[in-house]
Amino acid sequence: MKLIVNGEPHDVSARLLDGLLAELEFDGEWLATAVNGELVRPRERPTCHLSEGDRVEILTPRQGG
């Protein structure tokens, strides 16, 4: 299945968001996720189904002004 993850195309086998994080080795403890512009909280990731073409954002704390 083709997804857009952080703006980049990925061909993945995962069908759930937590599976996607594992498959792409997002190991950080402090991640925020959104699918198609909607927030997905950590507890919702195991039941968040992904579909072809979904846009996934995976963010993490960074320096800011």
């Binding site: 993850v5 952080n6 703006g7 792409l24 080795e25 997002f26 190991d27 950080g28 403890e29 402090w30 991640l31 925020a32 996720t33 959104a34 512009g37 909607e38 927030l39 909280r41 950590p42 954002e57 995976i58 963010l59 993490t60 704390p61 960074r62 320096q63 800011g64 002004g65």
Partner: protein, 257 residues
């Protein structure tokens, strides 16, 4: 004490965490500034990476409050989603709301700002809006639920210092009881003194400290300047006069002729 929503703090300096030459310098500058609030952001994580964890561990070790921002957002939708994601990660209802309307000036899109402030306030956020010095926009932001305002004094990162003292004075005069933090555009400690002498409650800095030759010393200088300006405002400053007035008593002086 500086009151930000339900939190009271001793320091009146908020410090950004970007652009420092090294993490160690960032940490030392934060400590030297005495700040109790640092600003942070959310950015894309790289696959296979844990880059955010290291930075966040450093910041958490300081024990300060964090103020996440929505820097780089250009629409209400982007800003609201970023704020929600920030609350999820950082565990705070505070959000520094930035919606940029122009790439060159980084001027806030105040129309989108007011709308996003309303949406986020209704969703339980404590919004710190990065705004211009426009009085009517300030009024709308307060109507939207903001209890803190963060007017700019010059474009972000410009180091120009306060460009429109009249507008800043006017803001302070119209909203004497609203907590107002001057955010963006400060370049020197003297700029911080100037805005604090106008009666503002605090300042938010980043570039002026991070890009200084010695960021740690500059953090200390700004902390001193903020204290000086704040103390001076409350001490009651002498108004300028067009004539000279002798400071030494005239009565009793000797006459030699």
């Amino acid at each position: 004490m500086l009151k930000l929503y339900d939190t009271e703090l001793m320091s009146r300096l908020l410090l950004g965490t970007a652009q420092y030459p090294s993490p160690a310098t960032l940490m030392d500058a934060i400590k030297a500034s005495g700040t109790k609030i640092v600003t942070v952001s959310l950015r894309r994580e790289m696959a296979g990476g844990k880059s955010g964890d290291g930075f966040w561990s450093l910041i958490r070790s300081l024990g300060t409050h964090v103020l996440p921002n929505t820097a780089g957002c250009h629409s209400v939708k982007e800003a609201v989603l970023t704020a929600q994601m920030a609350r999820d990660v950082f565990g705070t209802d505070w959000i520094k709301l930035e919606i940029i309307g122009n790439h060159d000036t980084l001027q806030p899109d105040v129309f989108a700002l007011v709308e996003a402030a309303r949406v986020l306030s209704e969703d339980g956020f404590n919004v710190f809006p990065y705004t211009t010095d426009d009085l009517i926009v300030a009024e709308r932001l307060l109507d939207a639920g903001c209890k803190v305002l963060m007017p700019w004094c010059a474009p972000i990162g410009s180091a120009l210092g306060p460009l429109n003292l009249h507008a800043l004075r006017s803001l302070r005069a119209h909203f004497p009881d609203v907590t107002m933090i001057v955010d963006a555009g400060l370049g020197r400690p003297s700029h911080a003194v100037t805005v604090m002498e106008l009666g503002f409650d605090a300042i938010l800095l980043n570039t002026a400290v991070a890009k200084a030759g010695d960021p740690v010393a500059m953090a200390r200088a700004f902390a001193t300047a903020v204290d000086a300006g704040y103390t001076a405002f409350h001490a009651g400053m002498l108004e300028p006069r067009d004539v000279a007035v002798p400071s030494t008593p005239v009565i009793g002086r000797a006459v030699f002729t």
